[in-house]
Amino acid sequence: MRSGDFKVSYAEDIRILQTTFIKICIGIFIVALIAYVSIADRYFIYLINLAAIATIGSLGLNLLTGFTGQISIGHAGFLAIGAYCSAILTSKCSFPFLLALPAAGAATIAAGLLVGIPSLRLKGLYLAITTFAFGFIVEHVANTWDSLTNGSQGMTVPPVEIFGASFDTDRSFFFIIFPLTAFAIIFARNVIRSKAGRAWIAIRDQDIAAQTIGINLLWYKLSSFAVSSLYAGIAGALFAHYLMYISPGHFELLVSVQYLAMIIVGGLGSILGSVFGAVFMILLPEMLKFLPDLLRDSHPVIVERFADINLILYGLIIILFLLKEPKGLYGIWTDIKVYWRNWPYTY
């Protein structure tokens, strides 16, 4: 514990930014990020944008799975509903983006509630299978409902347009996604320390006990599903407008696994962990892409079979983190912090 750091009120104890030092650090980070984006290469901005979108999605999944303990193996289904809803509304019904985004959010909330209802009866395993089936059904519908989704060919999506200004470049999109992601993080952080957040954690830890002390399981489980699917829907819609093209292949089962990998790698039940995990899982394959470049001549197999190597890597990362570091990157981060705080002592 830091010397001279005494909490004298409850409000002080639950404050999000505990010290001036952290405030300064975050300020520097934001300024540095914006400065970097204004000079960086298109490709790196693209990665940052993808990571930001993934952050929103993984925050949602972590609220549901990490904090409320409701397993979802069909998160790509929510992403798909958000993406297709916004894409269809803007391209076929010529909705403005500012209306389509909330509409996509509302549609995914409805889907989330629908999937959430079985969670009142089913737990753990059964819920995992239900969400799994849900994700599969959504992907299949997107694939077969040609007239609406254009089937497996995919559909083009107009770029984000707000009051006539079009955000179709990587750099301009950053200034849309950045405040949204920041808001998503702050909202998640706040909802966790509210009554709802504490109720979710209680449900995760022991749902019967939670019910006994007066937590309305129906309301809080469903609200967790609603918030989580809203996050996923927004992430999906942004993804669609950013890539300007979506196909069912963007929302296959592997994507759900990828999002689960994000929260496992980042840290279950941690807001900061969701961010770490999302950034890590987006950057990892990109970093790996440099590897084939180096080995292109000597080992052409690696380039041809890159997708399979990626799969193997995802699998290994999920398994290794679960076996060796169940607290994820967030756990490593706190361990390092504690180490430096106590240095040169061990505790």
């Binding site: 753990g124 239900t130 849900f134 599969f136 299949h140 696994v257 279950l268 995802y314 699998g315």
Partner: protein, 299 residues
């Protein structure tokens, strides 16, 4: 013999029955793991495909005589099952259910990658051991491959019934399934039983894989059938071996009938999804399935 519509119906039932037998076999492997070790194995489909590919490797790529090839395949897949349990699942005993599920999800992705990396995505055809001339029974047509599938399933059922009823191993496995602590006290090595369940399950999955790829094609995406097995096990009850077989067969038939009658009306796509709609319906109405142990916990 029957009117034309009725013959069509029976024909759909019959071919659905054959496919359902494959589901039943894979579901059987699934239930063996779930019953003994409490692990819900999302990687069962990949185990199945891997088994089929290993068999393909021995028969086609290494030209091993068929009997030996099957034997080698069973040994290798059994080893793979045992090693998987030892490395990945053993450390997870007692961990929260989410971690265990995610380990098997990770495993399924990992195996998918390994299969793709080793054999690629070209469509392969399994060598056929029997003639492919369809047989005709009472106006209905059945291919010898489908018939073989049905017969193999029947044999497996008999073998497993005998194994679980009379062999020492089988009884030990049932004991572990019903109470781990008590069976430890009775001198049963629970570790060995866990390993054994995984290897038996891998062999069963491999048989399912070989049959499936003989009926259809051999491709990494065959592991998709592993997903279709969830509805079967949930329908039958996840801890019931009889349930797995009945569930698998019912899902196969329902799927085929839905494909035959509804697909032409709505223009396709219903067949693949029927199993999952059935799954959601069962989970809402009767989550412990037809034969599963009823666990009631009210919240």
């Amino acid at each position: 013999m029957f009117s034309e519509g009725l013959t069509d119906f029976f024909q759909l039932c019959l071919s659905g029955f054959a496919v359902g037998c494959v589901y039943a076999i894979v579901a059987l492997g699934f239930v063996i793991i779930y019953k003994a070790t409490d692990v819900f194995n999302f990687a069962q489909g990949e185990l199945m495909t891997l088994g089929a590919f290993i068999c393909y490797l021995f028969i086609v790529q290494l030209h091993v005589p068929i009997i030996w090839a099957f034997l080698l395949t069973f040994i290798v897949t059994a080893l793979i099952g045992m090693i998987t349990e030892e490395i990945f699942l053993r450390p997870m005993v007692g961990e929260p259910i989410f971690s265990v599920i995610m380990i098997t999800v990770g495993l399924s992705v990992l195996l998918k990658g390994i299969i793709g990396l080793s054999w690629g995505y070209m469509i392969k055809k399994f060598p056929s051991f029997i003639s492919e001339d369809p047989l005709s029974v009472a106006g209905m047509v059945i291919s010898p491959l489908h018939l073989t599938t049905i017969i193999v399933t029947a044999i497996l059922i008999v073998v497993f019934t005998i194994f679980f009823k009379f062999s020492k191993m089988g009884i030990a496995m049932r004991a572990v399934a019903s109470d781990q602590d008590a069976s430890l006290l009775m001198g049963i090595s629970v570790r060995k039983i866990f390993g054994l369940s995984w290897s038996i399950s891998a062999i069963v999955a491999c048989i399912g894989g070989i049959l499936l790829s003989s009926i259809t094609i051999l491709h990494p995406s065959s592991s998709f059938v592993g997903i279709k097995v969830f509805p079967a096990v949930v329908l039958g009850g996840m801890d019931s071996i009889v349930g797995a077989i009945v569930g698998g067969i019912i899902i196969g038939i329902v799927e085929n009938i839905a494909g035959g009658y509804i697909d032409p009306i709505v223009g396709g796509g219903v067949k693949e999804i029927t199993a999952f709609v059935v799954l959601l319906a069962i989970l809402m109405i009767r989550p412990y399935g037809l034969f599963g142990k009823e666990e009631i916990e009210r919240v």
